[in-house]
Protein backbone atom coordinates (compact mmCIF):
# COMPACT_ATOMS: atom_id res chain seq x y z
CA UNK A 1 0.00 0.00 0.00
CA UNK A 2 2.95 2.26 0.89
CA UNK A 3 4.58 1.44 -2.44
CA UNK A 4 1.37 2.12 -4.25
CA UNK A 5 1.13 5.48 -2.56
CA UNK A 6 4.69 6.34 -3.49
CA UNK A 7 4.08 5.59 -7.17
CA UNK A 8 0.96 7.66 -7.07
CA UNK A 9 2.87 10.53 -5.47
CA UNK A 10 5.59 10.43 -8.16
CA UNK A 11 3.05 10.41 -11.00
CA UNK A 12 1.23 13.29 -9.35
CA UNK A 13 4.48 15.19 -8.98
CA UNK A 14 5.36 14.73 -12.66
CA UNK A 15 1.91 15.75 -13.68
CA UNK A 16 2.17 18.87 -11.58
CA UNK A 17 5.50 19.77 -13.23
CA UNK A 18 4.07 19.22 -16.69
CA UNK A 19 1.06 21.30 -15.99
CA UNK A 20 3.14 24.04 -14.30
CA UNK A 21 5.03 25.01 -17.54
CA UNK A 22 6.67 24.07 -20.81
CA UNK A 23 9.67 21.82 -21.10
CA UNK A 24 13.17 23.25 -21.02
CA UNK A 25 13.80 24.61 -24.58
CA UNK A 26 16.99 22.68 -25.20
CA UNK A 27 16.42 22.57 -28.94
CA UNK A 28 15.88 26.31 -29.18
CA UNK A 29 18.89 26.95 -26.96
CA UNK A 30 21.03 24.85 -29.30
CA UNK A 31 19.66 26.66 -32.35
CA UNK A 32 20.29 30.09 -30.82
CA UNK A 33 23.80 29.21 -29.77
CA UNK A 34 24.58 27.76 -33.20
CA UNK A 35 23.37 30.96 -34.82
CA UNK A 36 25.56 33.02 -32.52
CA UNK A 37 28.61 30.92 -33.44
CA UNK A 38 27.79 31.24 -37.12
CA UNK A 39 27.53 35.01 -36.82
CA UNK A 40 30.76 35.07 -34.85
CA UNK A 41 32.59 33.04 -37.49
CA UNK A 42 30.88 35.05 -40.24
CA UNK A 43 32.69 38.20 -39.14
CA UNK A 44 29.95 39.98 -37.23
CA UNK A 45 32.60 41.89 -35.27
CA UNK A 46 33.66 43.69 -38.41
CA UNK A 47 30.38 45.58 -38.65
CA UNK A 48 29.03 47.71 -35.74
CA UNK A 49 25.39 46.92 -36.59
CA UNK A 50 26.11 43.19 -36.77
CA UNK A 51 28.13 43.30 -33.58
CA UNK A 52 25.26 45.01 -31.80
CA UNK A 53 22.83 42.32 -32.92
CA UNK A 54 25.28 39.60 -31.91
CA UNK A 55 25.69 41.13 -28.46
CA UNK A 56 21.94 41.31 -28.13
CA UNK A 57 21.66 37.64 -29.07
CA UNK A 58 24.24 36.68 -26.48
CA UNK A 59 22.52 38.76 -23.79
CA UNK A 60 19.22 37.12 -24.66
CA UNK A 61 20.73 33.67 -24.38
CA UNK A 62 21.97 34.58 -20.91
CA UNK A 63 18.51 35.93 -20.05
CA UNK A 64 16.94 32.71 -21.31
CA UNK A 65 19.29 30.68 -19.15
CA UNK A 66 18.16 32.66 -16.12
CA UNK A 67 14.53 32.12 -17.04
CA UNK A 68 15.18 28.41 -17.38
CA UNK A 69 16.82 28.41 -14.00
CA UNK A 70 13.77 30.10 -12.63
CA UNK A 71 11.57 27.50 -14.26
CA UNK A 72 10.15 29.90 -16.79
CA UNK A 73 10.76 27.70 -19.79
CA UNK A 74 8.11 29.19 -22.02
CA UNK A 75 9.51 32.68 -21.51
CA UNK A 76 12.98 31.28 -22.13
CA UNK A 77 11.77 29.68 -25.35
CA UNK A 78 10.51 32.98 -26.73
CA UNK A 79 13.62 34.81 -25.61
CA UNK A 80 15.71 32.20 -27.43
CA UNK A 81 13.56 32.69 -30.54
CA UNK A 82 14.52 36.36 -30.43
CA UNK A 83 18.19 35.49 -29.78
CA UNK A 84 18.32 33.18 -32.75
CA UNK A 85 16.77 35.76 -35.08
CA UNK A 86 19.15 38.44 -33.79
CA UNK A 87 22.14 36.18 -34.41
CA UNK A 88 20.85 35.42 -37.91
CA UNK A 89 20.44 39.13 -38.57
CA UNK A 90 23.99 39.72 -37.27
CA UNK A 91 25.33 37.23 -39.81
CA UNK A 92 23.26 38.74 -42.62
CA UNK A 93 24.49 42.25 -41.79
CA UNK A 94 28.09 41.04 -41.58
CA UNK A 95 27.84 39.39 -44.98
CA UNK A 96 26.22 42.49 -46.45
CA UNK A 97 28.98 44.68 -45.03
CA UNK A 98 31.66 42.39 -46.39
CA UNK A 99 30.03 42.38 -49.84
CA UNK A 100 29.77 46.18 -49.69
CA UNK A 101 33.50 46.44 -48.94
CA UNK A 102 34.38 44.03 -51.74
CA UNK A 103 32.19 45.88 -54.26
CA UNK A 104 33.78 49.15 -53.23
CA UNK A 105 37.23 47.64 -53.66
CA UNK A 106 36.29 46.37 -57.12
CA UNK A 107 35.08 49.86 -58.01
CA UNK A 108 38.27 51.45 -56.71
CA UNK A 109 40.33 48.96 -58.70
CA UNK A 110 38.54 49.98 -61.87
CA UNK A 111 38.90 53.66 -61.08
CA UNK A 112 42.62 53.14 -60.49
CA UNK A 113 42.97 51.28 -63.75
CA UNK A 114 41.10 54.00 -65.61
CA UNK A 115 43.20 56.61 -63.86
CA UNK A 116 46.38 54.79 -64.94
CA UNK A 117 45.05 54.47 -68.46
CA UNK A 118 44.43 58.21 -68.67
CA UNK A 119 47.72 59.26 -67.15
Amino acid sequence: MRAHMATYGLVLGLMTQACGGAAVPHEQMTAAEASVRAADVGGAQASPQAELRLKQARDQIEEAKKSIAEGENEKAYYILLRAESDAELALALAEEESAKTQALEALKRIQKLMGEAQS
Binding site: K75, Y78, R82, D86, L89, A99, K100, I110, L113, E116
Partner: protein, 309 residues
Protein backbone atom coordinates in the same frame (compact mmCIF):
# COMPACT_ATOMS: atom_id res chain seq x y z
CA UNK B 1 -39.47 40.51 -32.55
CA UNK B 2 -37.12 37.93 -31.26
CA UNK B 3 -36.44 38.00 -27.61
CA UNK B 4 -33.45 36.30 -26.06
CA UNK B 5 -33.25 34.94 -22.57
CA UNK B 6 -31.27 37.07 -20.18
CA UNK B 7 -28.37 34.55 -20.04
CA UNK B 8 -28.09 34.63 -23.80
CA UNK B 9 -28.11 38.42 -23.78
CA UNK B 10 -25.26 38.39 -21.36
CA UNK B 11 -23.26 35.92 -23.52
CA UNK B 12 -23.89 37.95 -26.69
CA UNK B 13 -22.88 41.09 -24.94
CA UNK B 14 -19.66 39.39 -23.75
CA UNK B 15 -18.94 38.12 -27.27
CA UNK B 16 -19.51 41.57 -28.70
CA UNK B 17 -17.20 43.08 -26.12
CA UNK B 18 -14.63 40.41 -26.89
CA UNK B 19 -14.89 40.99 -30.67
CA UNK B 20 -14.68 44.72 -30.22
CA UNK B 21 -11.63 44.29 -28.04
CA UNK B 22 -9.97 42.11 -30.67
CA UNK B 23 -10.80 44.49 -33.50
CA UNK B 24 -9.50 47.50 -31.69
CA UNK B 25 -6.55 45.75 -29.99
CA UNK B 26 -3.42 47.84 -30.26
CA UNK B 27 -0.67 45.79 -31.89
CA UNK B 28 2.52 45.49 -29.88
CA UNK B 29 5.45 47.62 -31.00
CA UNK B 30 7.22 44.46 -32.19
CA UNK B 31 4.40 43.78 -34.65
CA UNK B 32 4.31 47.38 -35.84
CA UNK B 33 8.04 47.20 -36.45
CA UNK B 34 7.68 43.84 -38.20
CA UNK B 35 5.06 45.17 -40.57
CA UNK B 36 7.17 48.23 -41.46
CA UNK B 37 10.27 46.11 -41.86
CA UNK B 38 8.48 43.75 -44.18
CA UNK B 39 7.12 46.58 -46.34
CA UNK B 40 10.64 48.00 -46.59
CA UNK B 41 12.08 44.61 -47.48
CA UNK B 42 9.40 44.02 -50.08
CA UNK B 43 10.13 47.36 -51.73
CA UNK B 44 13.86 46.74 -51.71
CA UNK B 45 16.10 44.43 -53.75
CA UNK B 46 14.98 41.35 -51.77
CA UNK B 47 12.02 40.96 -54.11
CA UNK B 48 14.41 40.49 -57.03
CA UNK B 49 17.54 39.10 -55.45
CA UNK B 50 16.37 37.20 -52.33
CA UNK B 51 12.77 36.07 -52.92
CA UNK B 52 13.18 32.97 -50.74
CA UNK B 53 14.29 35.01 -47.75
CA UNK B 54 11.48 37.47 -48.35
CA UNK B 55 9.05 34.58 -48.39
CA UNK B 56 10.42 33.35 -45.08
CA UNK B 57 9.91 36.86 -43.70
CA UNK B 58 6.35 36.88 -44.99
CA UNK B 59 5.58 33.56 -43.34
CA UNK B 60 7.07 34.81 -40.08
CA UNK B 61 4.92 37.93 -40.25
CA UNK B 62 1.80 35.87 -41.02
CA UNK B 63 2.53 33.71 -38.02
CA UNK B 64 2.95 36.80 -35.87
CA UNK B 65 -0.30 38.26 -37.18
CA UNK B 66 -2.03 34.98 -36.43
CA UNK B 67 -0.66 34.98 -32.94
CA UNK B 68 -1.78 38.59 -32.58
CA UNK B 69 -5.25 37.59 -33.65
CA UNK B 70 -5.24 34.80 -31.13
CA UNK B 71 -3.77 36.76 -28.30
CA UNK B 72 -2.64 40.33 -28.95
CA UNK B 73 -0.80 40.74 -25.69
CA UNK B 74 0.86 37.35 -25.41
CA UNK B 75 4.59 36.73 -25.12
CA UNK B 76 4.25 34.46 -28.11
CA UNK B 77 2.79 37.28 -30.25
CA UNK B 78 5.53 39.67 -29.21
CA UNK B 79 8.25 37.10 -29.77
CA UNK B 80 6.92 36.01 -33.16
CA UNK B 81 6.52 39.66 -34.22
CA UNK B 82 10.10 40.32 -33.07
CA UNK B 83 11.30 37.34 -35.07
CA UNK B 84 9.22 38.50 -38.08
CA UNK B 85 10.83 41.93 -37.89
CA UNK B 86 14.30 40.34 -37.81
CA UNK B 87 13.42 38.01 -40.69
CA UNK B 88 12.23 40.99 -42.74
CA UNK B 89 15.48 42.81 -42.05
CA UNK B 90 17.43 39.64 -42.85
CA UNK B 91 15.63 39.34 -46.19
CA UNK B 92 16.32 43.01 -46.94
CA UNK B 93 19.98 42.48 -46.05
CA UNK B 94 20.11 39.32 -48.15
CA UNK B 95 18.64 41.28 -51.07
CA UNK B 96 21.33 43.92 -50.67
CA UNK B 97 23.95 41.20 -50.37
CA UNK B 98 22.95 39.53 -53.64
CA UNK B 99 22.70 42.89 -55.34
CA UNK B 100 26.21 43.76 -54.15
CA UNK B 101 27.52 40.38 -55.27
CA UNK B 102 26.10 40.93 -58.74
CA UNK B 103 27.46 44.45 -58.82
CA UNK B 104 30.85 43.17 -57.79
CA UNK B 105 30.75 40.45 -60.45
CA UNK B 106 29.90 43.11 -63.04
CA UNK B 107 32.71 45.32 -61.79
CA UNK B 108 35.15 42.42 -61.84
CA UNK B 109 34.13 41.58 -65.41
CA UNK B 110 34.49 45.24 -66.32
CA UNK B 111 37.91 45.28 -64.71
CA UNK B 112 39.03 42.23 -66.66
CA UNK B 113 37.67 43.80 -69.83
CA UNK B 114 39.43 47.08 -69.13
CA UNK B 115 42.64 45.32 -68.28
CA UNK B 116 42.39 43.32 -71.48
CA UNK B 117 41.80 46.49 -73.45
CA UNK B 118 44.70 48.15 -71.74
CA UNK B 119 46.92 45.15 -72.35
CA UNK B 120 45.89 45.20 -76.00
CA UNK B 121 46.58 48.89 -76.12
CA UNK B 122 49.88 48.33 -74.41
CA UNK B 123 50.69 45.60 -76.91
CA UNK B 124 49.82 47.92 -79.76
CA UNK B 125 51.82 50.70 -78.17
CA UNK B 126 54.68 48.29 -77.69
CA UNK B 127 54.47 47.23 -81.32
CA UNK B 128 54.44 50.86 -82.41
CA UNK B 129 57.34 51.67 -80.13
CA UNK B 130 59.19 48.62 -81.36
CA UNK B 131 58.55 49.68 -84.95
CA UNK B 132 59.81 53.15 -84.15
CA UNK B 133 62.84 51.66 -82.42
CA UNK B 134 63.48 49.33 -85.34
CA UNK B 135 63.28 52.29 -87.68
CA UNK B 136 65.59 54.29 -85.48
CA UNK B 137 67.91 51.30 -85.17
CA UNK B 138 67.81 50.87 -88.93
CA UNK B 139 68.68 54.49 -89.38
CA UNK B 140 71.37 54.22 -86.77
CA UNK B 141 72.71 51.08 -88.43
CA UNK B 142 72.61 52.80 -91.79
CA UNK B 143 74.38 55.79 -90.33
CA UNK B 144 76.80 53.44 -88.63
CA UNK B 145 77.30 51.62 -91.91
CA UNK B 146 77.79 54.92 -93.64
CA UNK B 147 80.20 55.97 -90.95
CA UNK B 148 81.95 52.64 -91.20
CA UNK B 149 82.10 53.01 -94.96
CA UNK B 150 83.41 56.52 -94.57
CA UNK B 151 85.88 55.28 -92.01
CA UNK B 152 86.91 52.51 -94.39
CA UNK B 153 87.19 55.00 -97.19
CA UNK B 154 89.16 57.27 -94.94
CA UNK B 155 91.36 54.40 -93.86
CA UNK B 156 91.85 53.38 -97.47
CA UNK B 157 92.59 56.96 -98.40
CA UNK B 158 94.94 57.25 -95.47
CA UNK B 159 96.60 53.98 -96.40
CA UNK B 160 96.87 55.23 -99.95
CA UNK B 161 98.32 58.48 -98.73
CA UNK B 162 100.63 56.60 -96.39
CA UNK B 163 101.65 54.43 -99.29
CA UNK B 164 102.21 57.46 -101.43
CA UNK B 165 104.06 59.14 -98.65
CA UNK B 166 106.14 56.05 -98.06
CA UNK B 167 106.84 55.81 -101.78
CA UNK B 168 107.70 59.47 -101.91
CA UNK B 169 109.85 59.16 -98.86
CA UNK B 170 111.46 56.08 -100.32
CA UNK B 171 112.02 57.93 -103.56
CA UNK B 172 113.27 60.95 -101.68
CA UNK B 173 115.43 58.68 -99.67
CA UNK B 174 116.65 57.13 -102.85
CA UNK B 175 117.29 60.57 -104.29
CA UNK B 176 119.04 61.64 -101.13
CA UNK B 177 121.04 58.46 -101.19
CA UNK B 178 121.81 59.01 -104.85
CA UNK B 179 122.73 62.60 -104.19
CA UNK B 180 124.79 61.55 -101.19
CA UNK B 181 126.75 59.29 -103.43
CA UNK B 182 127.28 62.29 -105.66
CA UNK B 183 128.58 64.25 -102.75
CA UNK B 184 132.09 64.37 -103.96
CA UNK B 185 131.00 65.73 -107.31
CA UNK B 186 127.74 67.55 -106.43
CA UNK B 187 125.98 69.67 -103.87
CA UNK B 188 122.24 69.85 -103.24
CA UNK B 189 120.49 72.97 -102.06
CA UNK B 190 116.86 73.91 -101.58
CA UNK B 191 116.36 77.31 -103.12
CA UNK B 192 113.35 79.40 -104.04
CA UNK B 193 113.57 78.25 -107.64
CA UNK B 194 113.54 74.57 -106.53
CA UNK B 195 116.00 71.88 -105.57
CA UNK B 196 119.33 72.82 -107.05
CA UNK B 197 121.81 70.04 -107.76
CA UNK B 198 125.15 71.46 -108.65
CA UNK B 199 127.53 69.14 -110.50
CA UNK B 200 131.19 70.03 -110.65
CA UNK B 201 132.27 70.43 -114.26
CA UNK B 202 135.67 68.86 -113.64
CA UNK B 203 134.05 65.62 -112.56
CA UNK B 204 131.57 65.48 -115.43
CA UNK B 205 133.65 66.54 -118.38
CA UNK B 206 137.21 66.66 -119.69
CA UNK B 207 138.57 70.13 -120.35
CA UNK B 208 136.77 71.91 -123.20
CA UNK B 209 134.75 68.78 -123.91
CA UNK B 210 131.02 68.19 -123.60
CA UNK B 211 130.98 64.37 -123.44
CA UNK B 212 130.26 62.95 -120.05
CA UNK B 213 132.99 61.01 -118.33
CA UNK B 214 132.08 57.33 -117.56
CA UNK B 215 132.07 57.94 -113.80
CA UNK B 216 129.77 60.90 -114.31
CA UNK B 217 127.38 58.71 -116.31
CA UNK B 218 127.23 56.14 -113.51
CA UNK B 219 126.46 58.79 -110.98
CA UNK B 220 123.88 60.49 -113.19
CA UNK B 221 122.18 57.11 -113.66
CA UNK B 222 121.50 57.02 -109.93
CA UNK B 223 120.21 60.58 -109.98
CA UNK B 224 117.98 59.76 -112.97
CA UNK B 225 116.52 56.70 -111.20
CA UNK B 226 115.79 58.72 -108.08
CA UNK B 227 114.17 61.58 -110.03
CA UNK B 228 112.13 59.11 -112.02
CA UNK B 229 110.85 57.44 -108.88
CA UNK B 230 110.04 60.70 -107.12
CA UNK B 231 108.55 62.41 -110.10
CA UNK B 232 109.07 66.02 -111.07
CA UNK B 233 107.28 68.77 -112.83
CA UNK B 234 110.23 70.27 -114.57
CA UNK B 235 114.02 70.15 -114.65
CA UNK B 236 116.07 72.99 -115.94
CA UNK B 237 119.69 72.01 -116.69
CA UNK B 238 121.99 74.95 -116.73
CA UNK B 239 125.50 74.78 -118.08
CA UNK B 240 127.98 77.29 -116.61
CA UNK B 241 131.60 78.14 -117.50
CA UNK B 242 134.30 80.32 -116.03
CA UNK B 243 135.10 83.64 -117.58
CA UNK B 244 138.05 82.51 -119.62
CA UNK B 245 137.56 82.21 -123.36
CA UNK B 246 134.98 83.89 -125.54
CA UNK B 247 131.40 84.25 -124.51
CA UNK B 248 130.22 82.49 -127.64
CA UNK B 249 132.51 79.54 -127.02
CA UNK B 250 131.51 79.41 -123.40
CA UNK B 251 127.84 79.62 -124.29
CA UNK B 252 128.17 76.83 -126.84
CA UNK B 253 130.22 74.71 -124.45
CA UNK B 254 127.85 75.33 -121.52
CA UNK B 255 124.82 74.48 -123.67
CA UNK B 256 126.55 71.40 -125.10
CA UNK B 257 127.37 70.18 -121.58
CA UNK B 258 123.81 70.86 -120.31
CA UNK B 259 122.44 69.05 -123.32
CA UNK B 260 124.79 66.11 -122.69
CA UNK B 261 123.41 65.81 -119.19
CA UNK B 262 119.85 66.08 -120.50
CA UNK B 263 120.48 63.48 -123.16
CA UNK B 264 121.84 61.11 -120.60
CA UNK B 265 118.96 61.63 -118.22
CA UNK B 266 116.47 61.09 -121.04
CA UNK B 267 118.32 57.96 -121.97
CA UNK B 268 117.56 56.78 -118.45
CA UNK B 269 113.82 57.19 -118.93
CA UNK B 270 113.14 60.78 -117.90
CA UNK B 271 110.62 62.76 -119.93
CA UNK B 272 112.55 65.04 -122.34
CA UNK B 273 109.63 67.43 -122.63
CA UNK B 274 109.98 68.26 -118.95
CA UNK B 275 113.70 68.86 -119.21
CA UNK B 276 115.13 72.08 -120.51
CA UNK B 277 118.86 72.46 -121.20
CA UNK B 278 120.32 75.93 -121.14
CA UNK B 279 123.83 77.26 -121.74
CA UNK B 280 124.47 80.26 -119.52
CA UNK B 281 128.28 80.57 -120.10
CA UNK B 282 129.89 82.66 -117.37
CA UNK B 283 126.94 84.90 -116.67
CA UNK B 284 126.22 83.48 -113.25
CA UNK B 285 129.45 82.81 -111.46
CA UNK B 286 129.27 81.34 -107.97
CA UNK B 287 132.87 82.19 -107.14
CA UNK B 288 135.66 84.46 -108.27
CA UNK B 289 137.15 83.85 -111.69
CA UNK B 290 140.45 85.24 -110.47
CA UNK B 291 141.57 82.09 -108.71
CA UNK B 292 141.97 78.54 -109.90
CA UNK B 293 139.54 77.25 -107.21
CA UNK B 294 137.01 79.96 -108.03
CA UNK B 295 137.08 79.21 -111.71
CA UNK B 296 136.79 75.50 -110.97
CA UNK B 297 133.61 76.20 -108.94
CA UNK B 298 132.18 78.34 -111.70
CA UNK B 299 132.59 75.54 -114.23
CA UNK B 300 129.49 73.57 -113.36
CA UNK B 301 126.19 72.12 -114.41
CA UNK B 302 123.12 72.85 -112.28
CA UNK B 303 119.94 70.84 -112.28
CA UNK B 304 117.03 72.90 -110.95
CA UNK B 305 114.31 70.42 -110.14
CA UNK B 306 110.75 71.69 -109.69
CA UNK B 307 108.96 69.02 -107.67
CA UNK B 308 105.69 67.59 -108.85
CA UNK B 309 103.78 69.18 -106.01
Amino acid sequence: MITLPSSSRILLAAACVSLAACATAVPPSELVDARSAYILAEEGPAQQFAPAKLDTAKKALTEAEKAFEEDPESEKTKALAYVAERKARISASAGELEKLKKKRATLDAEYVDLEHKRATMTKEELAATRARLDLAEGKAAAAEGKAAATATELAAKRAELEKEKAAREAAEGKLTAALASLKEMASVKEEARGMVITLNGAVLFATAKSELLPIAKTKLDEVAAALKAQGFKKIVIEGHTDSRGTVADNERLSLARATSVKTHLVSQGLDSVKIDAQGLASTRPVATNDTVEGRADNRRVELIVTPEK
